[in-house]
Symmetry: C2
Subunit: 237 residues, 2 copies
DNA sequence: GAGTGGTCTAGACCACATC
DNA sequence: ATGTGGTCTAGACCACTCA
């Protein structure tokens, strides 16, 4: 006895593959529910159940009356809400970012251990983030090659101010989830200097692993800032 | 033309009221889907849609083959994973807690501003949390009266080691959501002393607002610890 | 085996977006 | 007016739990 028709769980897996393989592209529409029902030989309700699950996971975006689209993932502006006196407050803060350096570097044991990357090289970016013109976060970012090779051809001055949307549009990589680890440390000389503080000043450090749809790590980022200006809010559910 | 039958959105609201009013009690079963369908005069599918939504919000707990139950909310053991070398690691850490003082205090403007509490008094607890016998977090906890009046009659030595389950079983209060705000500061003398550190040592402070099903604040808690031992992990979605 | 939730169907009808 | 997703129905059948 073999099952000869697909369940919604199967469809969820199939739809994910459509996205990972690029058949369904980031930011573009997927076929209508009734079309998919015909294509896969199931009832519309079954298609809907699969789509609703993916929508709850942030993979698809539904809007009543319009077609369902493939999400580009997180937008990455989530990092700066960690500091006092910024965006979420009233008035206008002006968060900006500047990429200071881009360099191709080998993936060493430490980095591959953290990320699971098995290719040889990665890109390393140094990036400063500003609030109201003042340097607030110094970031070191690793992204693997060759997946992000198109980034190399972009001049750092032409980087978009948010990296994740750029990853999506340029490299077809959607960051769906991330894990932050916040810890406290005294600033090293180099970090302190970049932030306009003295060596040994209390610092905060946020290590972030960013994951794509398949759960693979697509970025590792370390951000350092002034602990005394730091404030992090999180929902616990 | 009036709508003469209930939609699943209406049912979600109705079911929440059943819980808030105590008709459906924390930890107990709710009627079966088919029974509810008859009671409210709708199809089973409509009941299911409402229940699924509440289940996704953590309000109800479904288990295949068994009846659906009302959740007791968060368990409150979430705070200690913030420190290094603890539970989530291998081996056995032994997190414990000890309530040092319980006192009835008036709700001042600051507290009512933060929490929205409009009654006159609150209970204030001082509580120390330990990892492997060593004092790690010093907590100051406010809960409003008269909602928590049953707590007064319990001797601090008889408190359960997790407070949220005690709130649920004793006071019918389920903490469904919380908001943590993490910041760094130099330890005040009193906090430092309680933690076995010297005044001015780098400290971490976590302010938490805990919410019930209706979104009302049911607890305000401030936790202070050693910044050097602090490590916080969070998922970003 | 009786009772519960889980999946799927086929179709009706509603609500929103767009032309 | 057409196409899309949103809601609801009534019923069949499956899968799990427990006595």
């Amino acid at each position: 006895m073999s099952k000869n028709s697909l369940g919604y769980v199967d469809l969820v897996a199939i739809f994910k593959k459509q996205i990972q393989s690029g058949v369904w592209q980031i930011g573009r529409s997927i076929p209508s529910e009734s079309a998919l029902a015909k294509e896969f030989g199931v009832a519309v309700g079954t298609i809907r159940q699969a789509i609703i699950e993916l929508s709850n996971d942030g993979v698809l975006i539904k809007r009543h009356g319009k077609s369902t689209m493939v999400s580009g993932g997180l937008n990455g502006q989530s990092m700066l809400r960690f500091f006092r006196g910024n965006v979420s407050g009233s008035g206008q803060a002006s968060p900006t970012a500047k990429v200071l350096a881009v360099k191709e570097t080998p993936i060493d044991k430490t980095l591959s251990g953290l990320t699971g990357w098995s290719t040889k090289n990665a890109l390393r970016l140094h990036r400063m983030r500003f609030i109201n013109e003042s340097p607030t976060l110094f970031e070191t970012i690793y992204i693997p090659l060759p997946k992000f090779k198109k980034i190399i051809k972009v001049s750092p001055r032409d980087y978009e101010s948010l990296l994740y949307p750029m990853y999506a549009s340029l490299c077809e990589v959607a960051v769906m989830k991330a894990k932050d680890t916040v810890s406290f440390e005294l600033l090293k000389k180099s970090d302190a200097k970049a932030l306009g503080l003295r060596e040994g000043h209390p610092g905060v450090r946020v290590d972030r692993l960013a994951f794509d749809l398949s759960g693979a790590v697509v970025e590792f980022r370390t951000s350092v800032g002034d602990a005394m200006a730091f404030q992090y809010s999180a929902e616990v559910n």
